[in-house]
Amino acid sequence: MTNRLLDGPPLDFGAEPYAQHRRRLGPLPSAAGLLEALESSGLRGRGGAGFPVAAKWLSIAERAGGPAVVIANGSEGEPLSHKDRLLMSTRPHLVLDGALLAAAALRADRVFIVVAEDLARAPAVMAAALAERPEAEQEALRLVVAPARYVAGESSAIVNLVESGTAVPTYVPPRPHVKGVGRAPTLVQNVESLAQVALLARRPASFPALLATLHAAGSGPVVRELEPSTLLGQALEGVGGSLSQTRAVLLGGYFGTWIDGSEAWELPLDPRALRELGHSFGCGVVAALPVGACGVCETSRVLRYLAEESSAQCGPCFYGLRALAGACERVSANQAEPGELQRLQRWAQEVRGRGACRHPDGASGFLLSALRVFGSDFAGHRTHGRGGLG
């Protein structure tokens, strides 16, 4: 049997009230045995690396010393992702249950719920949900509203925001799970992963489904809860997409990779299987680029966005991403300089691993996948085509 995050009242009813949440799922369960349940569930985080949740929790649980800190990451900075705002706006108490269970399992005395300011109703819903919880729980819980910036969701940036009010990444080490807020070991976990924890603590045998934001060619985003065995093609067909209308698929959002349409159609969204093929399900964005659209133009647009979202702290990221976006724009404008493509390849390799956070790595992986999938567009760019990502 599968746990379903979006079970319960229809989603267009808005937030499930606390009383209804408790009637449906029962009270907050004990955290006894939770680490073992997490381990056997195979639950993985929703960053690009897909790090096992159990391993991250264990590294904090096995420490000696004082209380830890838990941060629920609801910053959802990825422009194509909508799953976290939907989850927070409709099932806020699953997120709070998961964060409180993490605090119990990891002996944390403070829990911060970080929500980006631009996520429609999510900040207001989470604030109202917090106020519905018993007083003893409210004492540990704090809501922190984050600025709507791409890098604000990076874990060291979140810790920095909670500590100092500035949502830019810091130089790691030490990593937040070793020394985070107030030098205490700090768990930074995506809100969907915490909501999964809330269900796993109640039904340990279940294998988690995944929230995905689907963009079929020519239509807006739809959030679906899908089994890991679902093929990307099946997922997109479920929201009106078709292979004949799809040139390529962007998997994992702006930090993800382009995959040729027909190859993508047959891939399962199982994060483990995808990683073996060099892809990442990451934040769960599956976005189709329509047939007839130009891969160079779309890649330029995304790279310019990523360049402007650099927090401008590290030279290779600040200058490198601007240079990459500029070179793509020259190709797109049919003004490529001699050796432009070779330089793009070299720059993309050189910026990797040379920032305090993974922002340049994400942009580099995105561009390298574009050069593979849209190689002919880059080599002989003439026309701009029509259409783009949703």
Partner: protein, 71 residues
Amino acid sequence: MSEELELAVDRTRCDGSRLCAELLPERIRLDDWGYPIFEPGAIPAHLLPHARRAVAACPLLALRLRRPGED
């Protein structure tokens, strides 16, 4: 046997002074914007004095030596 050491840099501090690459060109080259790129792996023993000089010369104290795999 002496300890193995490699170069590491705090990228948020480094402002591209280029001094490190001048003092240790065997292990450090510069990207097109003047920021250092390191040869991966441990510094050979005969270059360690030069590496220490490069670390000491960094005007922003961004460069350091660490044991491989250390944070």
